[in-house]
């Protein structure tokens, strides 16, 4: 009887274990990428903090050096506001990395005012409030999450009114600012692993394709970005080779110029 109950217990445990932890069915070890790439869905653009997180693991970064709170120019052209909005949200992630509460709060207000300028302020007000509250309590994880929600809400509100292209510019603005900071950090303390974080050729193609679909946004800054992306692509599309220190510096020069073009009037 004892043996039977023991067997029963073991069987029950095994069954429960199997039920709770169902491992993935055998997936093919190799797929035909050429065939797959024809059915690929749109890419999700990584947030700056995703890249900053990887960068942090390579060594400590003095994020305070990159915090920016000064009020940037006011624009009336919606594509320019969208680019700037993406950049300012990226600045928010930098301020979170630096754990700089006053900067985070200021950036939260700036995001709200830019969102109003582009007609999506209503959806951002609760997020701006949540950012301020979380920054006051120094709950950095909550601020990060709220910044992600802010960007997502801005883009959802834009998509709702069929402003998908502006929504894409928000992502692009954030990516450019993130790349500028990434290249600044890696230029200062070069390592092949740090440079490898720039290996994003598919994202560049994604942005280039999106910009080609915006002929109506005939603005010098858009042309500058298109030209710069064309110059960056061969520097990062190096296959199995390493991205050189010189390439990182060049990308930093290009993205710094673009950033200046995004945040200032001229």
């Amino acid at each position: 009887m004892i043996a039977f109950s023991k067997t029963l217990k073991i069987s029950a445990s095994a069954f429960l274990g199997a039920a709770l932890c169902v491992h993935a069915a055998q997936a093919p070890r190799q797929i035909d990428v050429q065939k797959m790439s024809k059915q690929v869905e749109n890419v999700v653009v990584p947030l700056p903090n995703e890249i900053f997180g990887a960068l942090n693991k390579l060594g400590s970064v003095n994020w305070r050096e990159y915090v920016r709170t000064e009020k940037t120019s006011n624009f009336t052209e919606r594509p320019r506001i969208a680019l700037l909005l993406g950049t300012v949200i990226a600045d928010g992630f930098i301020a979170v990395q630096a754990e700089d509460a006053p900067a985070v709060k200021e950036i939260g207000q700036r995001v709200l005012s830019l969102s109003k300028g582009i007609g999506v302020g209503n959806s951002i007000t609760p997020h701006a409030k949540a950012i301020t509250e979380a920054a006051d309590k120094r709950k950095w994880e909550e601020v990060r999450q709220e910044l992600d929600r802010t960007q997502s809400s801005v883009q959802a509100a834009m998509n709702e009114v069929h402003d998908e292209k502006l929504s894409q510019l928000v992502s692009l603005g954030g990516w450019l600012r993130g790349t500028q900071v990434l290249t600044s950090v890696v230029t200062k303390r070069f390592s092949p692993d740090g440079a490898e974080l720039l290996h994003q050729p598919d994202l560049l193609v994604h942005f280039q394709t999106q910009l080609q679909g915006m002929p109506e946004f005939n603005l010098p800054i858009i042309h500058d970005i298109q030209s710069a992306l064309g110059q960056v692509k061969p520097l990062v599309d190096v296959g199995p080779s390493h991205i050189s220190a010189e390439s990182v510096r060049k990308i930093n020069d290009l993205t710094t110029k673009l950033d200046s073009g995004i945040v200032t009037r001229n």
């Binding site: 190799q30 869905e41 999700v44 995703e50 974080l197």
Partner: protein, 149 residues
């Protein structure tokens, strides 16, 4: 049964089917997303930051879809797939840019939830393949969310 009764019964039956059908296939991608987020929940406690952005759509039984995602070496990622169709069986797998299976052994599938875990060996573009293996519905909504730490 007279002719009037027969017609009334037939019309009643058609109306009943019309009322029931939209409820049977009435889920949305948003519903699927809430299940994907449900699968992600325990991992948030382990320090994973779950992105607000997600992919979604619908697939027929046996159909697959690939999404491409830039992943960064140094980070660790989980991708969670969910559907509101409780009797569906879904899967998610991750491949590197060369098409080699890149996921960790602890990736799992459990009915209308599935998850794949990847610690990228290189910063690059990866393919995430989502599939509806079996489903009682003609089209099954799916949503894929991801988190990193």
């Amino acid at each position: 049964m007279n002719r009037f009764m027969k017609s009334s019964l037939r019309i009643g039956l058609i109306l009943l089917i019309c009322l029931i059908l939209p409820h049977r296939a009435g889920g949305t991608v948003d519903d699927a997303q809430s299940f994907a987020l449900q699968a992600a929940e325990p991992y948030v406690k382990e320090g994973f930051q779950v992105r607000e952005d997600y992919w979604g759509g619908d697939l027929g039984s046996g159909e697959k879809k690939a999404v491409r995602q830039q992943l960064f070496k140094g980070n660790e990622y989980w991708f969670w797939l969910g559907t509101e169709v409780e009797r569906a069986k879904i899967s998610v797998h991750i491949y590197d840019a060369e098409g080699k299976l890149a996921e960790q052994q602890d990736s799992w599938e459990k009915g209308h939830f599935a998850a794949a875990h990847v610690i990228p060996k290189a910063t690059s573009s990866y393919f995430i393949i989502v599939a509806v293996e079996e489903s009682p519905e003609e089209r099954t909504h799916w949503a894929l969310v991801y988190g990193f730490r």
